[in-house]
Every structure is written in C-alpha cells, then in structure tokens.
C-alpha cells in the first residue's frame, strides 16, 4: 500500500484530499461528516467580519448537464459564510480538537485594510487551526465590495495583503487565486513576493450558465433577474490544470507549493493535478454532486495506481509531468503520427469519417470495395487526433508514430532527430 499521507507546507493530513472552502465546509455538522467519510482535511468556508453577509433567498446554483443530466458544470452566487464569526470560530476550535490528525485550514476575506486582516488572523490563530487561506478568488458578490476576485485581479493588492498576513501570523498562509485574469503567473508571482507559503487554484470562473428562454433571464434567476456566478466542476478542470502547470514551470514560482483545485472528481483527476505540480488537491463539486463518500474512490484509486506504478509516497508523483509541459515552439516537428483504426473494435458509427471529411483532412474512408469500412488514408492524415477524440469506443482508434521510411502525406523522410519551430526554415525568426 502506498503512503498517501500529505505534508503541505507543514500542514499534515492522512491523504491529499481536502474539501475546498465552500458550502460543504460551512458548519461543524458538515465537516464532522466529511471527516467521518475520510477526507484528509478541509478549508473552512470563508470567514468575514461581523455583521455577517446575507445570501439571496432564491436559487443559488445553476448547472450545465450532459443529456442524461450528469452534472458537468456548476455555477453559484452564494457568498462567504453568513454565520456570525464567533459561531464559526468556536466550531472550528471544537472540530480541530476532535479531529487532530486532519488538516484544518481557515479561509478568510475581509476588507483590504491592514487592521482588518490582522484583526481576524489573531482570532483564527486562537482556534488551533493549521493554516489560513486568503480568498482572493470569488468572482461574484464580494468582488463588487472590493474583496475576493477584486483583490486577486490586482497583483499589487495580493502582495500587500499577503505581506500583512505573513507579518501577523506564524500560520502557513495559502493564497487562493482567481482564474479570471489573463495570465495566472502574475498573481502567483505577487503572492510569492508577499511571502505566501503556497498558492491554491483555481477559484471559480465568472459565468452565466444558462438563460431561461421563457422568462428571458439568466439562471439562477432571482425574481426575474440573474447575476454572474462562479463556475466550477468537471468542466473547468482543463483550465485549472493549465494554470497549475503555468505556475509550476514559471522560473519565479516553480518552488511555491500549489494546492490544486478545479473539477477534481476522481482519483485520476487528483493524480493529474499532482503530476503537474500540485502538492495536494481540494474538492468541492464532486462532493456537492454525490456526497462525501466519493472520497473512498479517490483514496482507493490513487492507492492502487501508485502501487501499480511503484510510487511509494506522494512526493514521487508531485511535479513528475511538469518538465514535459513546454511551449509550442519547442515541440518536435519531426514527430509524425498516423491514426490507426482497430477494425475488430470498430462499431461502424462513421463519425471518424464524417468529422474528418467535413471538418478536417478527408483522411478516413467511408467505403472500401463498396462496403462500409473506415480506414485511414495515410497520404491525407495529418495525425490530428480528432478521430480519436470523437470515437465512442475506447482504444478503437489510436495514434501510431512513424519511425522509419517516408511520411506518405509530405513525402518527406522520417527523421528521428529533434527539430522544432525555432530552427524551422519557415520561421522568419529562426535565422537559418
């Protein structure tokens, strides 16, 4: 059995699966159930100053479904905790006492003034919590009041607030970043410059998930009106993975620990985040879709995969894929692949043919000798992978590397040496 125990900036937990700051971590009742279910830690739902904020009394969530109503994306307009600060602090203190082996991180959001941040930090320290997470991410509601994403979108503010916090407390400070920016490296660098112990990302993506065509209003609709919300769930994972990788491979931030967030639904998602450099992961939507017991699958799946691959600890997984993320210009242009269709697995749906024919390179047959038969025409195949992407049968179409001979499409010899765009003859900047 692999060792799943996690040490994230000194915060220890029995596994790398934390619940993200969100509705599932708003109360002791929920968090106790989460710990009973086996979650390694929680980031308590964001605390603010009294008097507590209020939430809308109408719908808070909107959803994107697959046709059979699997939840693909979730959008919310809920704000930070709407309970009095002292109630939350008392519960945090009790829960940490009851579950000493679990990670207890407290998310915070107060107005952008030094005294406000310093004031709340002292009260959190008293609870015995393991660390704090600065919520610079929420894109809705609080941002209108100069908090959340309004801070996260200005690197100077991130650095300033982070520095105040680091000056005030010895607790590890994790800075939670918003994806609603153009280049995630700048806020990450600012967090580092401010002294952050780690960054966590992504918070939710600004979104309108749907429009009610009867009432002509965005959903969720509050008395005929809607407001943009924060989008999360499986749909945002690719955005999050890219941002995690961007930070992990940026020279300035390569050494800052990352807590990966964004659509983690299975062990495999978690392993992918960690492979790209996340030291652990935070989960919300999967729990809000299926309940806390999804962590059972995550733990057992990660365990089995690590055993299978011979990874004894999480350290041997974290960042393993980071060196393989590169810029387009460094991709090997001598690497040639062709699609291959396994005729025994093919169920004859014809989608590979029609998408190639209509939208790509006319490289897959519809009929051979008058019979329905799908086969790759190497003379036309550019190796784009679209057919693989649309095929409903796993491993029916695969990409095969050509290692010798001639590429029938370009009629160029297959060359094994690495050659990229920077030196390509067609590149005006290559100087060759």
């Amino acid at each position: 059995m692999a060792d799943l125990s996690n040490n994230f900036v000194g915060i220890k937990s029995p596994n790398p699966f934390w619940l993200a700051s969100a509705p599932p971590t708003d109360k002791a009742f929920n968090v106790n159930r989460a710990f009973e279910a086996g979650w390694g830690g929680v980031v308590w739902k964001t605390l603010g100053e009294d008097p507590p904020i209020v939430n809308v009394n109408g719908p808070r969530y909107g959803a994107v479904h697959s046709a059979d109503r699997r939840l693909i994306g979730l959008n919310n307009i809920e704000l930070i905790t709407d309970r009095p600060l002292e109630v939350n602090l008392a519960e945090i203190r009790q829960v940490k006492r009851d579950w000493p082996d679990r990670a207890m991180v407290v998310s915070l959001m107060v107005p952008c003034e030094e005294k406000n941040w310093k004031g709340i930090l002292k009260r959190v320290e008293d609870t015995g919590a393991d660390g704090v997470e600065l919520n610079f991410g929420c894109p809705h509601g609080m941002s209108e009041r100069g908090m959340g994403a309004a801070v996260g979108q200005v690197p100077e503010y991130i650095e300033m607030v982070t520095r105040w916090c680091k000056e005030t407390t010895d607790l590890p400070v994790i800075v939670k970043l918003t994806p609603n920016i153009t280049d995630i490296r700048f806020p990450a660098r600012a967090a580092k410059a401010g002294g952050a112990d780690a960054v966590s990302l992504i918070n939710t993506v600004s979104s309108i998930v749907s429009v009610d065509l009867d009432t002509m209003a965005p959903q969720p609709t509050i008395d005929g009106k809607g407001s943009h919300g924060g989008y999360c769930g499986p749909a945002v994972k690719p955005i999050a993975l890219n941002m995690v990788a961007d930070i992990a491979r940026d020279a300035e931030t390569a050494d800052i620990p990352i807590s990966g967030i964004g659509g983690v639904t299975t062990w495999r998602d978690a392993a992918e985040f960690m492979a790209l450099g996340a030291g652990n992961v935070q989960v919300c939507t999967a729990a809000m879709t299926y309940g806390f017991r999804v962590v059972d699958e995550m733990i057992s799946g990660l365990n089995n995969w690590m055993d299978e691959k011979g990874h004894a600890t999480l350290d041997s997984v974290v960042g393993k894929a980071t060196p393989n993320v590169t810029d387009w210009q460094y991709l090997n242009l001598n690497y040639v692949t062709k699609a291959r269709i396994d005729q025994d697995k093919c169920i004859q749906c014809g989608r590979c043919h029609v998408v190639c024919e209509d939208t790509s390179h006319q490289a897959i047959t519809l009929k051979v000798d008058g019979k329905r038969h799908f086969e790759v025409i190497d003379e036309e195949c550019v190796g784009c992978n679209l057919c693989v992407s649309v095929c409903p049968v796993e491993d029916c179409i695969t990409m095969e590397e050509l290692t010798t001979g001639v590429d029938p499409r370009t009629e160029n010899d297959i060359r094994r040496e690495y050659a990229n765009w920077t030196t390509h003859a067609n590149n005006p900047m290559s100087g060759s």
Binding site: A67, D68, R69, I347, G350, H353, V354, R372, P392, V393
Partner: protein
C-alpha cells in the same frame, strides 16, 4: 399498489408503454448520431433516425416527429408494430458494441405521440392542382399515398371495402399493440391534412369497377391488401371450431365486449407468421388454457421475429416446429375435437413428411397460413396479375399507365406496415410526377 381493474389486462395494456420524458432523454443520449447510419439504411422508409433522436435529446419533440413523418406518415403505428429487432435496432451500432441497441422504436413513439394531443397537423394541403386521384384501400399503403398526394394539392378520394379505415392496422394486429383506439386516431391524424375524401364500405370489383375509376380519375392507386385467405384444403377444415386467424383477430379488434368472444380451452394455430403469434397470444389473454402454434419448419424460418416468438412463449404459448397438419377430427358432437399432424424434415431444402404423426386435442383451430389477393377485384382490368399479386415497375406503376399499386397486394410485398407505407409514399411521388407533367 394500484389495483388493475381491467378484466383483460393483457389485451388492454400497451405491450411497450410509452417512454416518459426522462426515459426518452436518457435513451436518446445513447444515440451516437452515426454518419450514413446503419439504422437509416435498415428502415424501409429511410427515416433519418439519428436526426430525430437528436431532436428529442434537444427537447424538440415536434421537430423529431416531423422528421419521422417526412418519411413515414404512419410513424406512430410503425413505432408500435415494426419488428425493430430485425430492422433499425438490429443495425444499431450499439447492438454491435454492447448488444443493447438504442430503443429506436420507443423513441419514435415518444416523438410521434406528440401529435396525438391537441396539436395542429404538421403538413399543409397543397394548393389545388386540379387533379383527382382515387386511392383504393385505406390501409397503410393507401393512407401514405393519399397523404403525400394531398400535400401536393391533388384531390384524393379514398375507397375502402370495410366499414372502417385503417386496413390491417384496424383489423389485423393484436390489440396490445394499438391500445386506446390508436389505429383510428392515426387515420384521423393522416386525414387531417385535408383534401382527402374517405368512402367506406365501397368494394372495388362489386360496388364500383376499376375501369370506371380509371375513366373518372387522373390516376388510381391500388392499396388493396390481401383480402383473401389461403386455404389449406385440409380434411375437416369445415368443422365448427375452425376459423381463419385473421377473422378471429378482426372480431377481437372490433368487439367492445371481450366477454362475448368465444375462445376455446384448447387452441391450435397453424402457421408461423405475425398473425399466428397475434392470434395465439390473444387467445391466451382471453383465457384459453392450452395454446399451441404448429409450424411446418424451424424457428429460424418463421416469419414472426424471434422477439415475437418469445413474446408468445412468455405468454404461455407452446410453439411446435416441423409439424404440418394432416386432418382435423371431430368430437362426438360433430365439432373440432383434435388435429392430426405429421412431423416434417427438410431434405435438401425440400420439406417432406416423415410419416410420424401426432394428435393434439383441440376445440378451436385458427388457420394462419397467409393471405391472398382477391383477384376478382381486378377482373375487369388489363392489369397483369402475376403470382396472384399485382405486378408493378420500379415506380409502382402497373401495366396500366393510369394505375399504380403498393403494399401487400403487389408482388414483392413484404407483409410489413412500414414497407407498405414506403410503397404508398413512393407511388405518390411517381403519380405526382406523372400527372403534373
């Protein structure tokens, strides 16, 4: 549990209950939207199955129904009676992938049921072309032909020998496939396009002669069906208790009082097609104790699909293969008492009696050995009637240039509602081209 108050639940309950919106949503998501889809090729009317399923998935039920009706205006009945397991669903790539095809038939019903409600007919009668067409027979072929002609603006007079329209849909299929008077409601739906005048109880060949119709109309379409019944020439077939299965089914379909139907305790059905199955299953549902289908060849040779065979067996019908009838014997009262059958075997493709015989006790025998054209209907015409079927060319035109034909009555007729619809539709196109020229 809700108490089922139906006295004959088997007869009055849909064989396949309608899918709920949720079921349809989940099922439609299974469709891969194949290109040049095998299910379309397998459908005799060529319905764009992937498109209509995608329309269901997108919440466009009316559009889905329209996609179906564009190729098959009787798509509602076909959704209920098509042997989908040997047509579209057999060809479904999900059948190849996981032996579980998309439930195309049930999705088709979900879509077409949309127009069972108080919804405007999805087609408009064409502006008057000034042409008059007579459609003989208000069964599937005739209805499909008449509807298509009406959309082109031709005025259609539809004659039917029976007192109700619908043909076999009304008289010839099991009740549990068309509950709640669906056959009639579908006819009303087809006719609601406008421009079609229906005249029932008019038999061509006696009430009116085909020659008169040819004189009177710009074109005539014959969708006569097969109104006669094959005779086995079996000794004892004149005994009380022997009946043609189609007549039994017609009686059953037309009664409002199942209690009044006489059904025997021990029933033997001779034949291997859908009619045999429909008669056998319904006999069981009416209370017959022992129901046996005797068929002279093996299971694979039966015209009834494997699904239909299993449906019979689930309903307690015994199917005996390789048995041909020899003689029907009377009991003491002079009615049917038993039937004597001989085992058969196939010797180099030829069926032969083995000489070994058995007797099965029976008080009722239904003959389901096929229907035939009542050739008398055509006696006064020049129409060549080969193999006791109307012969047509590839455009459904008969030997007479003003007469077209389709459905079961033509040679090559497939004995399927959906095939008849296709004949009627294509014949209408051919007629339209001819009279518009």
């Amino acid at each position: 549990m809700q108490q089922d108050e139906k006295a004959y639940p088997g007869l009055e309950t849909d064989l396949h209950p309608a899918l709920s919106r949720h079921e349809a949503s989940v099922e439609s998501d299974r469709c891969y939207f194949c290109y040049d889809a095998p299910c379309v090729t397998a459908c005799p009317t060529g319905i764009d199955v992937p498109l209509f399923i995608r329309q269901i998935q997108a919440g466009n039920r009316a559009g889905a129904a329209k996609t179906i009706f564009d190729e098959n205006i009787l798509g509602g009945m076909c959704a209920r009676v098509c042997p989908t397991e040997t047509l579209c669903e057999q060809a479904c790539v999900r059948q190849t992938a996981e032996s579980k095809p998309v439930k195309i038939g049930q999705l088709q019903r979900f879509a077409t049921d949309h127009f069972l409600g108080d919804v405007e007919h999805p087609y408009q009668q064409g502006s008057d072309s000034g042409k008059q067409v007579c459609v003989v027979g208000a069964g599937p072929a005739g209805l499909a032909c008449a509807h298509r002609l009406a959309t082109y603006g031709h005025r259609v007079t539809m004659l039917d020998a029976k007192s109700k329209p619908g043909g076999l849909n009304e008289y010839g299929i099991a009740t549990y496939k068309t509950v709640e008077n669906f056959a009639r409601r579908e006819v009303d739906f087809v006719l609601s396009v406008g421009g079609i005048t229906l005249k029932n109880s008019v038999r061509v060949g006696s009430d009116v002669m085909l020659d008169e119709l040819i004189d009177q109309y710009d074109a005539v379409f014959l969708g006569l069906g097969l109104d006669g019944v094959n005779q086995a020439g079996l000794p004892g077939s004149d005994l009380a208790g022997v009946e043609n299965a189609v007549e039994f089914i017609a009686r059953l379909r037309q009664t409002t009082d199942y209690d009044s139907l006489q059904v025997g305790r021990k029933v033997v059905i001779i034949g291997g097609g859908m009619t045999a199955i429909d008669a056998a299953v319904q006999a069981r549902m009416l209370g017959a104790e022992d129901v046996t289908i005797a068929y002279r060849r093996g299971a694979d040779a039966m015209n009834a699909s494997r699904y239909e065979q299993e449906l019979a067996q689930i309903n307690g019908v015994k199917i005996k293969h390789y048995l041909q009838p020899v003689e029907i014997h009377s009991d003491a009262s002079g009615a049917v008492g038993s039937i004597e059958l001989e085992y058969t075997s196939s010797v180099s493709g030829e069926l032969q009696g083995t000489g070994e015989k058995i007797q099965i006790e029976a008080d009722t025998i239904y003959m389901a050995i096929g229907q035939t054209l009542l050739a008398g209907q055509l006696a006064s015409t020049v129409i060549e009637s080969g193999a006791n079927r109307v012969t047509v060319d590839s455009a459904y035109r008969t030997g007479h240039q003003k007469v077209w034909a389709g459905g079961d009555c033509i040679s090559g007729g497939e004995d399927l509602t959906v095939a008849a619809v296709q004949d009627g539709k294509l014949a209408a196109e051919s007629i339209h081209r001819a009279i518009s020229a």
